[in-house]
C-alpha cells in the first residue's frame, strides 16, 4: 500500500479529505452545502466508474443512468421488502448492478465495441420500462422513502449520507487508482490501444473486459444506492435521467480518460461549475454547457485536461 512516495501522498490526501469532510459536519449546519457537495460526489463516483471501462478499455457505456437507477431501485426494493440497513442496501445494489454489467458485457463484448455502446443505451430504456410498470416500487408514480429523523453522531440524516457518500467516492477513486496501476490496468490499456495485438500477445481480453464492466456496474450501483434516501422521493424519470449518463461520459472525457485522476478533475470542475450555474442562471443552460464542452473537448482536445497539462509541462521542459 505504501510502496512509493506517490502512494503515501495519495493515501494521506484521501485521509485528509475525509477528515475535513467529517469536520465540516461539526461546524456547518446549512443543509444546502451538503446537498451541493453530495451531488458533486455522486457525479465524481459515476465518472470514475465510467472511466474504468470507457477510459481504461475504450468501450463506451451510454447506459450509466440505467446502472445508477437500478442501484437506486435495488436499495428501494430491499428497503421496502426486508428493511435492511443502509450498508447492506449498498452491498445489494453493488451485487445486482455488477451482475448486470457482467451480463451486458458477456452478451455484447464479443462483438464490435459499437454494439456494446448501443446495447447499453437499449438496456437503460428496457429497464426504465420495467420499473415504470413495476408496482412494488411505485411504478410511474414514484415512491416516497422515509428516513429516520434522529441519527447517531450527526445532526441530520443528510449529513450522515454526505459522510457515507464521501467515503464511498474516496473508496472508488482508490479502487480506480489501484486498477490503473495494476497488471489488470496494463491489460486494459493494451485492449484500448490495439485489441487484436493484445489478444495475440496473450492478454485474456474478454476476461479483462468482463472484469472491468462488472466493476463499473457495481460502482455505479453503489453510487445510486444512497440516492433514494438523499432525495426521499424517486420516480423513473428522475432516476433514469439522461443527464446522469451525459455527465458520466462528459466528465472523464473532459478531464482526460487515460489516467485515473482525469475523471476526478473533470467531475470536480464541471460538477462545481454546474452547482454554480444551476443556482445563479438556469438548469437548462447548465445542461447545454456540458454538452457543448463535451463536443469541443473531444474534437479539439481528445486527451482532456490531463493531456493538455502534460503537453504544457513537456513544452516547458524541452
Amino acid at each position: 500500500m505504501f510502496k512509493t512516495r506517490a502512494d503515501k501522498i495519495f493515501w494521506f490526501t484521501l485521509a485528509a479529505v475525509f477528515l475535513v469532510g467529517l469536520g465540516f459536519t461539526e461546524v456547518l449546519a446549512n443543509e444546502y452545502y451538503y446537498t451541493a457537495v453530495y451531488a458533486i460526489l455522486q457525479a465524481t463516483m459515476m465518472a470514475v466508474a465510467w472511466n474504468i471501462l470507457g477510459g481504461f478499455t475504450g468501450y463506451v457505456n451510454f447506459g450509466s443512468a440505467g446502472f445508477f437507477a437500478i442501484g437506486a431501485y435495488t436499495a428501494v426494493a430491499l428497503d421496502k421488502w426486508l428493511g435492511l440497513p443502509l450498508p447492506l442496501l449498498i452491498v445489494g445494489s453493488a451485487i445486482i448492478c455488477g451482475l448486470m454489467g457482467l451480463g451486458v458485457g458477456y452478451l455484447t463484448l464479443r462483438l464490435k465495441g459499437v454494439y456494446f455502446a448501443i446495447a447499453t443505451l437499449a438496456l437503460a430504456i428496457v429497464l426504465e420500462t420495467l420499473i415504470t410498470n413495476w408496482d412494488f416500487v411505485g411504478a410511474a408514480r414514484g415512491v416516497y422513502i422515509l428516513t429516520p429523523e434522529k441519527v447517531p453522531f450527526f445532526d441530520s440524516y443528510i449529513q450522515l449520507l454526505f459522510v457515507v457518500m464521501l467515503a464511498l467516492t474516496l473508496g472508488s477513486i482508490a479502487v480506480s487508482r489501484q486498477l490503473n496501476d495494476s497488471r489488470i490496468g496494463r491489460g486494459l490499456a493494451a485492449i484500448r490501444d490495439d485489441e487484436v495485438a493484445a489478444e495475440c500477445a496473450g492478454v485474456p481480453t474478454l476476461r479483462l473486459k468482463l472484469i472491468s464492466t462488472t466493476i463499473m456496474g457495481a460502482m455505479m450501483g453503489v453510487a445510486g444506492a444512497p440516492y433514494p434516501f438523499f432525495v426521499t422521493f424517486v420516480d423513473p424519470l428522475s432516476a433514469f435521467n439522461l443527464f446522469v449518463a451525459v455527465n458520466a461520459i462528459a466528465m472523464p472525457l473532459i478531464g482526460g480518460t487515460a489516467h485515473w485522476i482525469g475523471p476526478v478533475i473533470g467531475a470536480l470542475l464541471i460538477g462545481g461549475a454546474q452547482e454554480a450555474i444551476t443556482v445563479t442562471i438556469s438548469s437548462e443552460l447548465n445542461v447545454l454547457v456540458v454538452g457543448i464542452m463535451l463536443v469541443l473537448f473531444i474534437t479539439l482536445a481528445p486527451q482532456g485536461i490531463v493531456g493538455l497539462v502534460q503537453k504544457w509541462m513537456k513544452r516547458r521542459r524541452g
Binding site: 475504450g58 428496457v126 463535451l294 473531444i298 481528445p302
Partner: protein, 288 residues
C-alpha cells in the same frame, strides 16, 4: 378479432414510417460505419421545423419536410466534415466519435427544450383526423399519408443507391475503399454526400413523425432503439432487409400496445435489439 386486424394494419402503416426513420441510419451506420446515435434527434428537429412552418405559415407538413430536406443535407455534409477531420482521419472514431454524436444529440435536445419548452407540439392539415373505413378496419389518414410518403421515399432511396453511379459508389465505399479510389472516386467526398443524404431523409421523416402524433424534444431517445433495432435486425445496410425489419417491428409493437398496454411498447424495440445482438448479430438478412 377486429382489434387484432386493426392492430396489424396499424402496425404495417407504422412500420413503413419506421423504415423512413431508419433508412438514413441504414446508410450511415450500415454502409459508412458511422454510428450516428444523433440520427433520431435530427428526426425530432425536422418535426419541430415542420411544426414551425405549419403553425406560422400554414404550410402542408409533407411539403415542409421536402423543403427542409436540402438544408438538412447541407447540415449533414458539415457535420461529416467535422467528424472526418476530428476522428475518422486520426482513427479515433470508436470512442470519441460515439461521444461526439452523443454530444450533438444532447445539444439539439437541450436547445429545443430551451427554445420551445417540453410541451407537446402538433401540426394541422385538412386530412389529419379523418378516417377511411374498409370493412371493419379503420384507416386513419394521419397514418396512411405517412405510410405513402415513407414508402415513396424509401423506394426512391433504394433505387438511387442501386441504379445510379453515385448510389453504387456509396455502397462500394463500405465494401472496398481502395478499389473505389482506383475507379476514380474520392471516398471522402462520397461519404460526405451519403451522410448529407442520410440527414436529408430525417427532415422528411420528421415531418411524418409530427403528423403521426405529438412531438416533444426527448422523443428521439425512444427512436434510437427503434432505428438501431431495425438496422441491426435488417442486416446492417441491406435496404430490403431493413424494410422487412421495420414492418415486423411496427406490427409487434402495435400488437403489444393493443394487448399489453402502450407503456410496454418502447421496450419492444430495445428487447428485439438486445436479443438480436445476443443471438444473431448479423441480423435476419446479414452478410454473415
Amino acid at each position: 378479432m377486429d382489434l387484432f386486424a386493426n392492430a396489424i394494419v396499424a402496425g404495417i402503416l407504422l412500420g413503413a414510417f419506421y423504415a423512413a426513420v431508419a433508412i438514413g441510419l441504414a446508410i450511415t451506420f450500415g454502409q459508412l460505419d458511422i454510428v450516428n446515435i444523433a440520427h433520431p434527434t435530427f428526426v425530432v428537429a425536422g418535426s419541430y421545423i415542420t411544426w414551425i412552418l405549419n403553425s406560422s405559415y400554414g404550410l402542408d407538413p409533407v411539403l415542409a419536410g421536402i423543403l427542409v430536406a436540402p438544408i438538412f443535407f447541407v447540415v449533414g455534409v458539415l457535420i461529416y466534415r467535422v467528424y472526418y477531420a476530428a476522428f475518422e482521419r486520426t482513427g479515433q472514431e470508436s470512442l470519441s466519435g460515439l461521444a461526439f454524436f452523443f454530444g450533438v444529440m444532447f445539444i439539439i435536445e437541450v436547445v429545443l427544450i430551451m427554445v420551445y419548452g417540453v410541451d407537446y407540439r402538433l401540426v394541422s392539415a385538412d386530412y389529419i383526423g379523418k378516417n377511411i373505413d374498409v370493412g371493419f378496419i379503420g384507416l386513419p389518414l394521419r397514418l396512411v399519408v405517412p405510410f405513402v410518403v415513407a414508402s415513396a421515399m424509401t423506394a426512391a432511396v433504394y433505387f438511387y443507391l442501386s441504379r445510379t453511379f453515385t448510389g453504387r459508389a456509396i455502397l462500394a465505399v463500405a465494401q472496398d475503399r481502395l478499389a473505389l479510389q482506383l475507379m476514380g472516386a474520392d471516398p471522402v467526398r462520397i461519404k460526405q454526400f451519403a451522410f448529407g443524404l442520410a440527414i436529408a431523409t430525417t427532415a422528411i421523416a420528421g415531418s411524418l413523425l409530427v403528423m403521426i402524433g405529438p412531438v416533444e424534444p426527448s422523443l428521439g431517445r425512444v427512436y434510437i432503439g427503434r432505428a438501431f433495432a431495425i438496422v441491426v435486425l435488417g442486416g446492417m445496410g441491406s435496404i430490403p432487409g431493413m424494410v422487412i425489419a421495420a414492418l415486423l417491428l411496427g406490427v409487434v409493437e402495435s400488437l403489444v400496445s393493443s394487448f399489453a398496454g402502450p407503456s410496454w411498447a418502447p421496450a419492444v424495440a430495445f428487447g428485439v435489439l438486445l436479443f438480436t445482438l445476443a443471438v444473431r448479430p448479423s441480423g435476419l438478412f446479414g452478410r454473415a
